[in-house]
């Protein structure tokens, strides 16, 4: 009788220890995902901050491109309206809305960058060249940040859906699978320009 009790106690303690260490192991992964998401937000913000200056510079030279410029401004306004805090990452719908708005802005911007090709004076403007390189750099940072986020979510989601972690999380924790997106999404959204027209 006493022996059974001891064995039972040992089993309970071991099981408890296993549950705690499993949950604790998830925390750093969760934090990495959140940190990487913040980085994605930072870079999108950085792009958004560049746009007013860019639009103002282009306006001075490309007088016939009012429509393209308006599209960029509108897309920017829409993209800045939708935010997604690191705490909301489990919301697939919010994520897809966020990404849709950002990629709409990406397409508007790339249309603008195609249009400016027609204005050699603008392209030679030092201020514009600086803005253009900053925009390119920011697009690249966005790509890197997105990839880092996707990679960290992949690790987290795999772990959280693997048995026995899946069971432990279901019983003891409110952690959920995080929303992710296709890495090529932004590339697909970029318009294909037909120069033959």
């Amino acid at each position: 009788m006493k022996k059974t009790l001891i064995i039972l106690a040992v089993v309970v303690v071991l099981a408890g220890w296993f549950v705690i260490s499993t949950l604790n192991g998830l925390i750093p992964m969760d934090e990495t995902c959140k940190a990487n998401w913040s980085q994605v937000l930072n870079q999108y913000q950085r792009r958004s901050d560049l746009i007013p200056n860019l639009v103002a510079t282009v306006k001075g030279y490309a007088t016939h491109e009012q429509e393209t410029l308006t599209q960029v401004i509108e897309a920017r306004a829409k993209a800045t309206q939708t935010t997604l805090s690191p705490e909301m990452l489990t919301d697939e719908k919010a994520m897809s809305a966020f990404m849709q708005n950002q990629s709409a802005l990406s397409s508007a911007l790339s249309r603008l960058m195609v249009v400016v090709e027609k204005y050699p004076e603008l392209k030679a403007n030092e201020n514009f060249m600086a803005l253009q390189s900053q925009l390119e750099g920011t697009e690249n940072r966005i790509a890197v940040a997105r990839k880092d986020y996707i990679d960290s979510v992949k690790v987290f989601n795999t772990r959280i859906r693997t048995i026995p972690t899946k069971w432990i999380v279901a019983i003891f924790s409110d952690m959920e699978k995080k929303a992710t997106f296709d890495i090529e999404e932004s590339k697909k959204a970029a318009p294909i320009v037909d120069f033959s027209k």
């Binding site: 060249m129 900053q134 390119e136 750099g137 690249n140 940072r141 790509a143 890197v144 940040a145």
Partner: protein, 226 residues
């Protein structure tokens, strides 16, 4: 033998999807073989004179089908150029076959060596690059990069290393081994000491030379086709 290892490495790289990075052999890694020995010496001297930040010149034989932007930050991370915490590393990457050049800037220097400034430096390198004068182009690039970042200072980062559990265990183990020698009978001591020294010789030591210090990269910088 070397060739065998090389072939093995190539197949290994092709088998996995991961990128293959050249070894960080010094501040100038001329994998594409486009820099003269004299230029390499000049570059090394220049780069060594920059003691606060880590700047590395690398020429690549092959981008493995990736864009130079994609390859660049991963190489920077792989090598860990720049100090941990300060992230003050810069890579000047030239891929002569793909005719692309890139300045990859670590997080910490993004504020000084901005995308716009990187782009201007690349502009200044482009005429020489177009003539495939890589020696001149890299010298121009390195001089200008160093000039821009030279006055940027960081707080000296606390480099005290917290002993890891592994380090503690290893230290105990080594101490234990020497106690084992000391406890031995006099006539057996020499044999045991030899045995232990042989074991210890397998423990990888800290090799000298130039190394990355854990700097991070996030895709900052600029690139250009030439």
């Amino acid at each position: 033998m070397k060739k065998l290892i090389f072939t093995f490495l190539i197949t290994f790289c092709l088998a996995g999807k991961a990128l293959c990075f050249p070894a960080l052999t010094g501040r100038v890694v001329d994998e594409a073989n486009i820099l003269s020995p004299q230029t390499q010496r000049q570059l090394t001297t220049l780069l060594q004179s920059e003691t606060k930040h880590q700047v590395v010149v690398v020429t690549l034989a092959d981008l493995e089908g990736k864009s130079i932007e994609d390859y660049g930050y991963q190489l920077g991370r792989h090598w860990g150029i720049g100090e941990k915490g300060n992230d003050n590393g810069v890579l000047l990457i030239i891929a002569p076959d793909e005719r692309q050049v890139r300045i990859e800037v670590g997080y910490g220097l993004e504020g000084v060596l901005t995308d716009a400034i990187s782009s201007v430096i690349l502009n200044n390198m482009t005429p020489a690059l177009k003539e495939s004068n890589y020696n001149q182009a890299t010298l121009i690039g390195v001089q200008q990069i160093l000039k821009v970042i030279h006055n940027e200072t960081f707080k000296p980062h606390s480099s005290e290393e917290v002993p890891t559990p592994l380090a503690i265990i290893l230290t105990c183990l080594v101490l234990g081994l020497f106690i084992y020698v000391a406890m031995a009978p006099r006539n057996d001591r020499a044999r045991r000491l030899r045995l232990i020294l042989t074991i210890l010789s397998f423990v990888p030591g800290k090799s000298g030379g130039f190394k990355g210090k854990g700097g991070r990269f996030g895709g900052g910088g600029s690139s250009r086709k030439f």
